[in-house]
């Protein structure tokens, strides 16, 4: 009998009860990857030797009754911008095709120390920005709900692998929505933690003042378990918040009674008009949380287009600074999409960048003011159900505003939860947003919603 697909919480119960072998679980994850990857392209590299070594160590702890915790023996994949010692970390790019790091990224090491079993490295948009691309050394990941569809990006392989039940979790990074986008289109839970809560050391950068790392998983509860293991101060990351890691699990089941929740309707109803299913999903999330005891109100912020313009100008310039040395020498080694986006970034002047940072400060102040009357905010996570992968515009992020980048600008925690299914049986998602360093409250609300609904019972047919 197969153990996958399953949640981390369920797998842990079976491992702790010694009814599931971590070695057999790792073998099953590897076999699922071998079977599904030719269709999904979720992994760009499997690491069976590492997986089986780590699984044997977990099994030894299991037999001794000395498990490291709820993640011990759980298979995982890492987005290929997370450095892994001795295993190529390429950014899904020809530019770094042969890069073999000497050390693990801090958060990769944290999950390994918690006992997680690395099955392989996951596809990403090129350097977490350029995609979906068909001219890179590896093809783009495809959506398990419909393999002709886009996963959203940039944590493409993580979205595909978790939705397909190959692994119950994976790492993501989020600079403008790269965790919350794939979580939405692939029907998962994914949290962009507060900026500074999780280390970025050993993670290939996209834009330093916006970059965050976080987990994607099937449920909010699993995200809480994963985030607990990766949160905390890292002196080697200058952006890391020097404060104790919060307890993300103690109050997870406390519900939302009495919480004040603001809905940013104009973001998804007028600034960007989302599809009916996406809009219904936000309304459904709000109604469920209200039925659970939350108090709802509407919130108005500056127009979404202002957040988008500010965020993308900052992102483009900071990304250009990262890639500047290679533009002169390796320009044709980038895929077409990233190559052209970086070329466009050269048009943004130094004064433009500073003006964007001044606008950012104003936007942060507007958000802080709005949140004086709210504990949490809600809005959509995506414009529509997953589009065909070959119909995604190269410049989509410039042509229409995105719903996720506002919370990269402010640094506050934001999570996508699956709120149902729309056209073609494709999943839709909405965001729950909290105050900075109140990640636990975001998780608590997401968990309350999942407990009160049955959306987590439906898996892609391909995952059976």
């Amino acid at each position: 009998m197969s153990a996958l697909p399953a949640t981390i919480a369920d797998l842990h119960r079976a491992i702790a009860a010694k009814s599931l072998s971590p070695v057999e679980l790792a073998r099953e994850a590897l076999a699922r990857a071998e079977r599904l990857n030719p269709t999904l392209h979720a992994f760009i590299r499997l690491t069976p030797d590492i997986a089986l070594d780590q699984a044997r160590a977990a099994e030894a702890r299991q037999m001794q009754g000395a498990l490291h915790g709820p993640l011990d023996g759980i298979p995982v994949g890492h987005k290929d911008i997370f450095e892994t010692a001795g295993v190529p970390t390429t950014g899904h790019s020809r530019v770094m095709e042969h890069h073999v790091p000497a050390q693990d990224a801090t958060v990769v090491r944290a999950w390994a120390e918690a006992g997680m079993v690395m099955v392989g490295k996951l596809a990403t948009h090129e350097f977490a920005w350029g995609g979906p691309s068909f001219d890179l050394p590896w093809p783009p990941a495809r959506n398990p709900w419909d393999t002709t569809r886009f996963t959203a990006g940039s944590s493409t392989g993580t979205g595909a692998a978790v939705a397909a039940g190959i692994v119950p979790a994976g790492t993501g990074s989020d600079t403008g929505g790269s965790i919350r986008g794939p979580a939405g289109l692939c029907g998962l839970a994914g949290i962009k933690p507060t900026y500074g809560l999780c280390s970025r050391t050993g993670v290939l950068p996209l834009a330093h003042s916006l970059d965050t790392t976080g987990p994607l998983a099937w449920t909010v509860e699993d995200c809480a378990l994963l985030l607990q293991a990766m949160a905390g101060h890292d002196p080697s990351d200058p952006s890391s918040a020097n404060r104790p890691a919060p307890d993300l699990l103690a109050g997870l089941g406390d519900g939302v009674k009495g919480l004040r929740i603001g809905i940013i309707r104009h973001f998804h109803e007028s600034d960007l008009v989302v599809t009916p299913a996406v809009r219904h999903g936000v309304d459904h999330l709000a109604e469920v949380l209200e039925a659970e005891g939350a108090v709802l109100s509407d919130v108005t912020l500056p127009p979404l287009m202002d957040w988008n313009a500010t965020g993308w100008l900052i992102l483009m310039v900071e990304a250009l600074a990262v890639h500047e040395p290679w533009l002169r020498t390796r320009f044709r080694d980038y895929g077409e999409i990233l190559r052209e986006r970086l070329a466009l970034a050269t048009l943004v002047s130094g004064a433009d960048y500073v003006q964007a940072q001044r606008r950012r400060r104003e936007l942060c102040a507007a958000m802080a003011e709005a949140m004086r009357g709210c504990d949490l905010l809600l809005t959509a996570a995506q414009a529509s159900e997953a589009p065909p992968i070959d119909k995604v515009s190269k410049f989509a992020s410039l042509e229409a505003p995105g719903l996720t980048i506002p919370f990269n600008l402010t640094g506050q925690p934001a999570m996508t939860v699956c709120t149902g299914f729309g056209e073609g049986g494709l999943p839709v998602g909405a965001q729950i947003i909290g105050r900075p360093f109140e990640d636990a409250l975001v998780l608590r609300a997401g968990h309350a919603f999942e407990r009160a609904t049955s959306w987590r019972q439906r898996r892609p047919a391909l995952a059976a």
Binding site: T194, Y195, G196, S209, M305, D306, N308, A309, T310, W312, L313, E324, L327, R328, F331, E340, A343, L344, T346, L347, V348, S349, D352, V354, Q355, A356, Q357, R358, R359, R360, R361, E362, C364, A365, A368, F395, L398, E399, T410, G411, Q412, R435, P436, F437
Partner: protein
């Protein structure tokens, strides 16, 4: 929608970055540059001369 960047400005930016484009790429990117122009216009609100940027970015800090 804003106008694209003038070709001379666009070409100067590419030259400064050391980027050589094909004619097709150049034409595409000049056209798309209207989105950059629109964005740089949108971030310039009326503000007091002393308004600080978020150069030291701390989540939750009040302006």
């Amino acid at each position: 929608m804003a106008e694209p960047y003038p070709a001379a400005v666009f070409d100067a930016a590419m030259a400064r970055a050391g980027i050589t484009l094909t004619e097709a790429e150049r034409a595409t990117l000049i056209d798309v540059s209207r989105h950059i122009a629109a964005s740089t216009g949108r971030i310039r609100t009326e503000r007091a001369v002393g308004v600080e940027p978020a150069t030291l970015f701390v989540p939750g800090q009040r302006a």
